[in-house]
C-alpha cells in the first residue's frame, strides 16, 4: 500500500472516487474548495462526473436526482452552504436516499468567517432541515481518517438508505499528512443493487417513485415510525469512539475532530504533570457513541468537553452520562482554535477542584 502526502480535503476526494462515487455536484466555498478542484481534475479521468452547480441549492438537488437513480454521488460545502443544502437533505431523508455530504465547518453564524469551527454540531446531529429525521454523521480527526470515513460513509449510507455526512473543519481540510488508501482500485457499484432506484423500469417492473409527499397524516406517521425503527437499528449497530488513557482517568476530556488532536496533547501533558487524564473522541456523532463515552468515564470524577463552539456536543455527553458526573466546558469560537496549553490549564483546574 502506497503512502501519499495529501491535504485532508484531497484525501477525502480521492477516497470518495475509490469508493465508487460517480458524480460530484458542488459549489465553491472556502475552506473546502480543494475538494471541488480535485474532483474537477480527477473525475473526467476516471469516467465520472464533476459538475459545478449554479448554487448550493441546485447542487444538493442534483445529488437528490442522481441518488434517486441509484448512482453513488456526493456534494461538499462549508457551513453557510450546508444551511442552503438543508432543504434538499430533508427531502433525501424523507425519500430514503443514500448520499454523502461533506461539511468542512467554518465559523458562524451568518456569513461568519473562514477559519475552522465546530459550530454546526447541532445542525448536523439535530436539525439538518425540517421534519423528523436523522442523518449519519462521521467526524474524522486525521487526514487518514478523512479518507477512511469517506468510504465508510458511502457504504453505511447505502446500507441504511439515508444521507451521511462527513463533519470536518477547516483545519483538517487544509492540513497535510501521509495517507494510505484502503483500496487500490476504484470500486464499482451498480444501480441494480438498488431495486428502488428510478433509473428507468426497462419494461421489467412497475414504475418506481421517489417521493416524500404524503397527504394522509396516518400514512406519513407510519413512514416516520418505520424510519425511526430503522434509526434504532442504526444506533445499535453504528457507534464508534476512540478511548485514550481513560482506564484510570479521573479527568476525561471529550472532544472530536481536530480539537481531539489538541486535547490528546493536553492529556499527555497532564499525565506528565501527574494528573490522571484521558480522552474520549467520538468518531460517529450520530449515532452518538453513548456506551463508549460511559465506558471512558467509568472512573472519571469530572469530564471536560472541549469544542470549537459555544458548547454543542456537551449536550450529548451529559445525556450519555445521565448527568451523573459533572461535565465542564471549554471552547473557543468564531474560528479561534484552542491551544493545547489552554486545554491543559483547564484539566489542571478541574484536577485541583477535585482535590479540594
Amino acid at each position: 500500500m502506497e503512502r501519499n502526502l495529501m491535504k485532508g480535503n484531497e484525501a477525502l476526494a480521492e477516497a470518495a472516487i475509490r469508493a465508487g462515487c460517480k458524480c460530484f455536484f458542488g459549489y465553491p466555498i472556502t475552506p473546502q474548495t480543494e475538494i471541488s478542484a480535485y474532483m474537477a481534475k480527477r473525475m473526467p479521468k476516471v469516467g465520472g462526473v464533476f459538475l459545478q452547480a449554479e448554487s448550493e441549492i441546485a447542487a444538493i438537488n442534483m445529488v437528490y436526482g442522481c441518488a434517486s437513480s441509484g448512482v453513488r454521488c456526493m456534494t461538499s460545502s462549508s457551513s453557510p452552504g450546508i444551511s442552503l443544502k438543508s432543504e434538499g437533505v430533508s427531502y433525501m431523508a424523507g425519500s430514503d436516499l443514500p448520499c454523502v455530504i461533506v461539511n468542512v465547518m467554518r465559523g458562524g453564524p451568518g456569513l461568519g468567517g473562514i477559519q475552522p469551527s465546530q459550530s454546526d454540531y447541532w445542525q448536523a446531529t439535530r436539525a439538518l432541515g425540517h421534519g423528523d429525521f436523522q442523518i449519519l454523521v462521521f467526524a474524522p480527526s486525521t487526514v487518514q481518517e478523512m479518507a477512511d470515513l469517506m468510504g465508510r460513509a458511502f457504504d453505511e449510507a447505502d446500507k441504511y438508505r439515508m444521507p451521511a455526512m462527513i463533519l470536518a473543519d477547516g483545519l483538517l481540510g487544509q492540513m497535510m499528512e501521509p495517507v494510505t488508501f484502503k483500496v487500490d482500485e476504484i470500486q464499482h457499484h451498480d444501480a441494480s443493487e438498488k431495486p428502488w432506484a428510478t433509473n428507468g423500469h426497462g419494461n421489467k417492473r412497475r414504475h418506481n417513485i421517489v417521493n416524500s409527499l404524503y397527504l394522509q397524516a396516518e400514512e406519513l406517521e407510519r413512514l416516520n415510525f418505520e424510519r425511526f425503527e430503522r434509526y434504532e437499528t442504526v444506533k445499535k449497530e453504528l457507534h464508534e469512539a476512540e478511548l485514550y488513557k481513560t482506564e484510570d482517568a479521573d479527568i476525561v476530556v471529550a472532544a472530536y475532530g481536530s480539537v481531539a488532536r489538541l486535547a490528546k496533547a493536553a492529556v499527555d501533558r497532564a499525565r506528565e504533570a501527574g494528573i490522571k487524564a484521558g480522552l474520549v473522541r467520538p468518531v460517529t456523532l450520530w449515532p452518538f457513541p453513548v456506551q463508549e463515552v460511559r465506558e471512558a468515564c467509568r472512573n472519571a470524577k469530572r469530564v471536560l468537553c472541549v469544542e470549537m463552539s459555544m458548547g454543542q456536543m456537551i449536550d450529548d455527553v451529559k445525556l450519555a452520562l445521565d448527568c451523573r458526573i459533572p461535565v465542564e466546558f471549554y471552547g473557543r469560537t468564531g474560528g479561534v482554535v484552542p491551544k493545547p496549553t489552554a486545554i491543559f490549564e483547564q484539566i489542571k483546574l478541574l484536577s485541583e477542584k477535585e482535590a479540594e
Binding site: G65, S68, T198, N199, N208, I209, L213
Partner: protein, 246 residues
C-alpha cells in the same frame, strides 16, 4: 382509423385535476410521445410542487418528486448519472419561473439534455390562485385583488423569449391546447423536444399556455376563450429557438 384510448405511459389512476383543467391534456400528450417513441422503460420524469405535484402517480415511467422549483437540478442529477436515459420535468409557472428561475436558466444554458414541459396558466393553482410570475398586468388574483399593477408587482416573465437567448437551448417553443389543431401542434413540439434529447442536442423547453378555470372563476369553456383573448396576445405562440447545439 385506429382506436383512440388512454396511452400506456399513463397509469390507471384518475387525474385529481379540476374539471376542464388542461393539465390532463398535456399529461396525455407527453405520454403519447413516450408511447410513440417506445421509451417508457428508459424515461424518468420529475414532478414539481404545484397542481401537478402528484403527476408521479399518473405517468407509468419511473418518477421523482422534486422540491419546489428544483426539478431542472434534479433532472440534471439523473441525466448526468444516466446520460442514455430520457429525462423530462413537468413544471408550472410558479415552480419554473419564480422559485426555480435559477435552476431553469442554468439547466438551459448548460445545454442539459433534458426536456422541460412548462405549464403557464398565470396562477398558483394549488394554493388557491395567487399571483404567478406570469400573471398578466391587470389580472385579478387572490394576492392582486385590484389587478396586477406593474408599478407594484412588476411585469410578467416571458420564459420562451428569455431562454431563447441562451446558447444551450435546442428548442424553446410556445404552444397551447385550446382546440384540436393547437393540441396537435403542442404534441409535435413535445416530440421535437424528446428527439433533441434523444440525439443529445441540447436543452428543450415547451411552454404550454393552459387554463385554470377554478381560480380564474370561469367555466372550462369560458377559460379557453379567456386564454385565447388575453394570454395569446401577451405570450405569442411559436418557435423562439430551434436547432441542435451540438
Amino acid at each position: 382509423m385506429p382506436e383512440f384510448k388512454k396511452p400506456n405511459a399513463l397509469t390507471d389512476v384518475p387525474f385529481h385535476y379540476c374539471p376542464g383543467c388542461t393539465h390532463g391534456i398535456v399529461h396525455r400528450l407527453v405520454a403519447e410521445v413516450i408511447d410513440e417513441m417506445g421509451i417508457e422503460g428508459e424515461t424518468i420524469g420529475v414532478c414539481p410542487v404545484g397542481c401537478s405535484v402528484m403527476a408521479y402517480d399518473y405517468f407509468s415511467c419511473d418518477m421523482i418528486e422534486a422540491a419546489h422549483g428544483r426539478a431542472p437540478a434534479v433532472a440534471t442529477g439523473v441525466k448526468r448519472g444516466n446520460p442514455d436515459k430520457f429525462v423530462f420535468t413537468y413544471q408550472g409557472d410558479g415552480d419554473l419561473a419564480a422559485i426555480g428561475t435559477a435552476e431553469t436558466v442554468h439547466a438551459a444554458t448548460r445545454g442539459e439534455n433534458i426536456t422541460v414541459i412548462f405549464i403557464n396558466n398565470t396562477t398558483y393553482g394549488m394554493t388557491g390562485g395567487q399571483m404567478a410570475p406570469t400573471t398578466l398586468p391587470g389580472q385579478v388574483t387572490q394576492t392582486t385583488p385590484y389587478g396586477r399593477n406593474p408599478d407594484v408587482e412588476g411585469f410578467p416573465v416571458r420564459v420562451c423569449e428569455m431562454v431563447s437567448t441562451l446558447s444551450g437551448v435546442a428548442l424553446a417553443e410556445r404552444v397551447t391546447v385550446t382546440d384540436p389543431a393547437n393540441i396537435r401542434k403542442a404534441k409535435a413540439a413535445i416530440r421535437k423536444g424528446f428527439e433533441f434529447q434523444k440525439n443529445k442536442q441540447g436543452f428543450s423547453l415547451i411552454e404550454v399556455l393552459s387554463t385554470c378555470p377554478t381560480n380564474w372563476g370561469l367555466s372550462p369553456v369560458e377559460a379557453i376563450k379567456w386564454l385565447k383573448d388575453n394570454m395569446v396576445p401577451y405570450y405569442p405562440l411559436g418557435v423562439f429557438k430551434e436547432g441542435a447545439i451540438r
